[in-house]
Symmetry: C3
Subunit: 421 residues, 3 copies
């Protein structure tokens, strides 16, 4: 919450899964209710497969670049799904799944929200395969148990399932030019034929139809809830989507156009974890200074507001606690993916603009009692912003005064822009 | 839980909000499940308004003295409600609201249960206004963001919305006799005309009708669940009221008449936080001594009961853990407001009296096996108390023996009363 | 989780309740979500009664030996239930109840899952009676409160309800050969006549009918979900039984025959606490080595699997975290009682065998990419195990090779068996 964390990192091996797990609760003492949520971001190269695994966590996954074919395996069936940019999918805890990047050119970039089930904040991946990155869970069973399980001699199980350091050389010879899994790690190259097989029965996002129980859904399939020439705001709420209902999660997708401002607002009850999909910008978040604890004897001291502010670029992650006013402006087209925790019946309260503006809704008498200006002053001030939700980050008045050269203390537009971002 | 905490405190400035936040979990290691609940009590003078704000907590609020007009502002509408003595209202987390005391003479006294949403046990108030007690959240945004937000020059925003220390003198002159907000704090005086406007469309408690989704409801609007000449017990349960349903809260209002006893009983699963509305009395609460932790080697040691007991007066707060037997007696007419946590399907089990008495329900054979007396003795003992729920705190037998002067070790009634309380 | 804990212990006084409370969360840092669950096991002799009490915990109780008549007392009624081997019953938090062993010969053995309501992991028993093991909660009230409560002089209350050390001698004389409660503890002997009275209106398990709201239900009343000649697996899931629904608990009963293996599998989302009802065997549980915390700089290190393994005998308890593969084999007929936490929509994923085998469900191409063997090798290996769920712990191939004497490094069957267990 204090500042921004980077959701991406460079790796020596470009072909490797890059899970960067964020523990939000360690960075502040104010967000304990967030401690059971983690964000994982990973990428895979064209024509690769992330090998099958299961985890002790629920996942809600969103594709932010490229295409994916994700297969979820249940004890009695398997189902493959095609996902494109903006598609989301829930992978229930314990489901064995594998993720294919079927594209010939584009890298696949996925962000997922993880909700651990054994222990808040910690979860593990369980792989049936052994590679240089991890061991097969089969290797955790004793020789005797494996022989009884497969009704087969251990040496055979080892050759077929587990691999064997001694046999590795032989293995690699046997499989010719194909790279052994132990060398490749958990992301492996796949051939065109394999991709064809793996995508043959894959099901795609349902589009504008009513959301399905289990398939992918696109964050932008419904009309944006807020939209004008400065931006669009899409939201999937838990009451409208069975896949996120029991998790009480909402998903938002925000497009803020270059030079636009998402007007100051606060969420009534949801805590949002936001990932920057692309673009650059800046957010300002307003909290209350925590003086409750050390302040028992100075009761008359004024409560202070505190601004948390940071520049944003692709892969950054930030948290918006419930009730905290926030604004975001975009220095280039900005795309934000948001996961809302505790989202059921959350309400966005805007503090300016024409619609959904709580300040505008105050009684005229209360406006006057609340602010130093007269009621006329205040209502005129509110009317000055005729846009709703999104507005110009470079206000008209400034633009005009620049044109007219009347406000000497301002420099040219370019320097104003640089002060904004 | 150990003893009583005072829910009120004196202030130098009588016109100030007096939030006294209670952290119940810090006072005992037995009530961890209560850690996310806080009680706040505040008062305001006649003809005053508590300025608009929102909080990162859900509130259930009850008026214990005077009258209030509470306005809840949503992004697209506002609704004012009139509340009188015993009226309750839920203010959902993040709702901007303001509280008017429209009365010319009576002070307003309100108790609220707060359920924080970002972090267990901590919550903050967010005010759009700046006063000497707190800063406006608008002042947390940068100059550039405010100019873009209001499409207005910063100096103008400062004059109308934020106030300015330098301009304050000018301000006060301009507004003549009216006191500036910066001086007044978050409770401000309001005129008769302003009160008339603010209460014009206010909606009142629905009375005995079925409870509404959002309006106030009176704790005594239904028949008391327990009632006799010694007292009345009212309860609003989560299954009967949509406003407290998702919080799993019940609300109780107990009237114990002077000289009466609320008979020993325990709650099957709810934890109650009780606030003394008025009157004086005493409670006795029976727990089990915590010997589990240091006692591994002395397994044969007897478990001991422990009495938690304290006198009660207006503004006191105490907690009744689930399963702990409790009795309360009144030395003057006692009014108790209770918030029940985890209240769905809670059951009150009385340990004496004619009805709802679990001891009476024991099999005759089990009574004899349980207690030293014969079955006849036990059943006669139970029959001696012919009242249910509430009884005379000064038992008939004692009164008689006093009259007849047969029990020499007792003094006159007055001294008995003093030993009771 | 690491190893096995013993759920039983010897006592000097065989007639005493033997609650052995297990705090699972103290033994590992991985199972925080289990911290509010405790297992209690107790036994009582033929023709005895465990005296009435209530607790600040919800219970789900299962009879593992003998018979019980359990009476649950509510404020306005009481109901007795007959329970036999494998019968389960929920005792809601705060319900006063007593447990009779009506059998003339068999000891009663009960295991219960406790879910505390005031504080995670701690709960207390509240007894109306005083014995040498504990004090009556009535003795926690003051003399004055008791007199007003029972409208009776204190000396009489003491004689009939509380007992009195001074009067004890007299008491014992008065009651002749009958033992006083203060001597007996909370389990007391009952006569044939008393048993007859206490069981007269008792209601029995509903059998195969649809589960009732409150009566006992047998874990084996429905068809086993997995069954063959090697074993049976019964499960009561929260969606099918109203008594465990709001607790989100499932109950399993597993019968593994001598020499059989419950095939490796994992639970998708439930955490299971398993109690050994009878028999001997061994389990193998596969987790991931926790290297996440100290490993930030050694990113390339391989994740390691870790085997948790232990022998099992009657009264042992172990925990199966969600997602962790497990196998169990039986050296004598093994009976396991399981309590599943977070059980709604849990799915068992088998890793071998003919049905419900997730490995079998992998795409043929993915099988080849995942394991070192060829697709043919892998599918043949999977086909080798023709059983589902349960199989021979001594694989056919080993048996054959023993017979044929071809595998010199193996000894005779007996030594193989000893290496298995």
């Amino acid at each position: 919450m204090r500042g921004v964390s980077r959701g991406k990192r460079e790796s020596k091996n470009n072909n490797k899964v890059l899970p960067h797990t964020h523990r939000f609760d360690q960075r502040t003492n104010r967000l304990e209710n967030l401690q059971n949520y983690r964000i994982v971001e990973f990428q895979s190269k064209p024509n690769t497969l992330i090998l099958p695994k299961h985890s002790d966590a629920d996942y809600v996954l969103v594709v932010l670049n490229g295409r994916a074919t994700i297969t979820i395996v249940n004890p009695d069936r398997r189902q493959a799904y095609n996902l494109e940019y903006g598609d989301a999918l829930r992978i229930p805890a314990g489901s064995t799944s594998y993720i294919l990047n079927p594209d010939d050119n584009q890298k696949l970039r996925v962000v997922k929200l993880a909700i651990p089930i054994n222990n808040p904040g910690y979860f593990y991946d369980f792989y049936p395969s052994s590679t240089k990155d991890q061991q097969s869970y089969f290797s955790g069973f004793s020789r005797n148990t494996l022989e009884a399980t497969f009704n087969t001699r251990y040496e055979e199980i080892q050759r077929i399932l587990l691999g064997n350091e001694d046999e590795q050389e032989y293995e690699e010879q046997r499989r010719g030019q194909e790279q052994s899994q132990q060398d490749e790690g958990v992301i492996v190259k796949v051939s065109r034929e394999q991709i064809q097989e793996l995508t043959k029965y894959a099901q795609s996002s349902s589009g504008k139809d009513k959301p399905s129980q289990s398939g992918p859904f696109n964050l932008r399939s419904n009309e944006p809830i807020y939209s004008n020439k400065y931006g669009n705001f899409y939201e999937i709420t838990p009451d409208r989507n069975p896949q996120v209902q029991d998790l009480d999660i909402s998903l938002t997708f925000t497009e803020i156009n270059e030079g636009a401002l998402l007007l100051p607002h606060y969420n009534s009850k949801a805590i949002f974890i936001v990932v920057v999909g692309e673009g650059n910008g800046k957010y300002e978040l307003v909290g209350i200074r925590d003086q409750q604890r050390q302040q028992d004897e100075q009761e008359e001291e004024q409560e202070e507001v505190r601004r948390y502010s940071a520049r944003l670029s692709e892969g950054d992650i930030f948290v918006i606690p419930a009730g905290y006013p926030i604004s975001v402006n975009a220095s280039s087209n900005l795309r934000l993916l948001g996961f809302g925790i505790n989202a059921y019946e959350n309400q966005r309260n805007f503090l300016a603009g024409s619609e959904d503006n709580v300040i505008r809704q105050l009684d005229r008498e209360v406006k006057e009692l609340t602010f130093p200006g007269s009621a006329e002053d205040i209502e005129r001030l509110i009317e000055n912003q005729q846009q709703s939700y999104f507005a110009n980050a470079l206000p008209q008045q400034q633009q005009q005064s620049e044109k007219e050269g009347r406000r000497g203390r301002r420099g040219p537009i370019s320097s104003i822009l640089s002060s904004l971002y």
